[in-house]
């Protein structure tokens, strides 16, 4: 008998088949465990996709911010000016002083076109040390010709910022008078809301001054003193 004969004999061994009941049990177990695995893989896939989306969004936003078409050289210059000329809200400064400084700051920060429109009144406020000079320029012929209404609007944002940063302190009678006349300037421009805001700022700055409720009343009290 050669070596091949035992191998051939082994091929004659019975070929039992796996029972169908066993097949069903095993396939049922396989199906039972497969969906859980699919779910976990799906969650992993979704998590990866979400991370990738966040990353891409971040990169896109960074790109948009660094290459924004709205940023110009002038704006960059204005930003540098703001940083360099940021006003220090000294307790010794009155409302008119801070407004004047704020107006100057705003004039530097505004785009070139707006600066041109607001040039005359802001310049008058910046150049005058006292309220009388401001009033004279604001009510003067040149000032009216340069649209003081627009000039007043240009100071709205400045007023808001100053209100946030203002420091309360006691103002002297002269300082109060200066600031009241400064606010009166808005009344004369028929900018009543702006005048109210100016007066509210003044009242916040000086609680001990016990200023009346309205700017008009404060001005009426001011007139007799002047007289």
């Amino acid at each position: 008998m050669s070596d091949r004969e035992p191998d051939m004999a082994l091929r004659d061994l019975p070929q039992p088949k796996s029972p169908s009941a066993l097949d069903e049990r095993i396939l049922a177990a396989a199906r039972e465990q497969a969906p859980a695995r699919r779910q976990s893989l799906a969650l992993t896939w979704m998590g990866g996709l979400a991370s990738a989306c966040v990353l891409v969004l971040g990169v896109m936003l960074t790109g948009v911010l660094t290459t924004s078409p709205y940023r110009t050289v002038e704006q960059d210059d204005a930003r540098e000016d703001i940083v360099a000329a940021r006003p220090r809200y000294d307790a010794s400064m009155g409302v008119s002083d801070t407004l004047t400084q704020g107006a100057a700051l705003q004039r530097r920060a505004l785009p070139r076109e707006e600066v041109t429109v607001a040039e005359t009144p802001v310049a008058s406020a910046e150049s005058s040390a006292g309220l009388e000079a401001d009033r004279a320029r604001a009510t003067g012929g040149k000032a009216k010709a340069a649209s003081p209404r627009i000039a007043a609007y240009s100071m709205v944002g400045t007023l808001d910022k100053l209100t946030e940063n203002a420091t309360a302190r006691h103002l002297s009678a002269e300082e109060q008078a200066n600031d009241l006349r400064f606010c009166e300037q808005f009344l004369k421009e028929e900018e009543h809301k702006l005048a109210e805001r100016c007066y509210a700022l003044l009242r916040e700055r000086c609680p001990p001054c016990k200023l009346p409720d309205t700017l008009e009343m404060a001005l009426e009290q001011l007139e007799p003193q002047k007289k």
Binding site: M1, D3, E5, P6, D7, A9, L10, R11, D12, L13, P14, Q15, P16, K17, S18, P19, L22, D23, R25, I26, L27, A29, A30, R31, Q33, A34, P35, R37, R38, Q39, L41
Partner: protein, 185 residues
């Protein structure tokens, strides 16, 4: 169409598909190997209920470790290694260290229900009389495994596998040359 595609896919491809949750891929894999594994276990053990239990344990082990399965290039070798180890574990649990069929009960008739012939019964008896390692080696070789694969499945060196094959064939030849129905003690 789906089953045709699965039939053309390799074992590793089907296993990877099952890792992704494709139960149909596992079914194709199972149908490809279930009868071969069952036959190997039956010839090695000879007891239908035991074979069924071991086969079930083997396939459940495949299912539970599917997630950690890495492409090794030979799923079949991995499957039979698990199956053989489960069979050894079964005998150990029963405090019978992988006993040979000469110590066990007589092999059952063909579970497929086909009438057994005398020659087949003689071969079964001769195989059952072999030492366990030699029997497994011969049966694995008959399943088409290479010497390297058999060495991996039985956790032995290739030279040892060669030696076991040689002794097993010699013993089978001796027994098959003897008169039919003679004892293989």
């Amino acid at each position: 169409m789906r089953s045709l595609i699965d039939r053309l896919r390799s074992d590793d491809a089907l296993m990877q598909a099952y890792q992704r949750g494709d139960a149909d891929a596992f079914e194709s894999l199972y149908r490809r190997h279930k009868d071969g594994l069952f036959a190997f276990l039956y010839r090695s053990c000879g007891q239908g209920p035991v074979v069924e239990e071991v086969a079930q344990d083997t396939w459940l082990a495949v299912i539970s470790s599917a997630a950690s399965y890495r492409t090794q290039g030979n799923f079949k070798t991995w499957l039979y290694r698990i199956g053989r180890n489960r069979l050894v574990d079964y005998w150990r649990r029963r405090d019978n260290a992988h006993r040979s069929l000469s110590d066990a009960e007589e092999p059952e008739a063909n579970p497929s229900g086909q009438p057994g012939e005398d020659a087949t019964a003689d071969i079964m008896s001769a195989v059952a009389a072999l030492p366990a390692e030699q029997r497994d080696t011969v049966l694995l070789r008959e399943q088409g495994f290479s010497l390297a694969d058999i060495a991996h499945i039985t956790d032995a060196g290739e030279e040892t596998v060669k030696s076991r094959l040689r002794y097993a064939r010699k013993q089978l030849r001796t027994w098959l040359e003897a008169e039919p129905g003679a004892s293989h003690e």
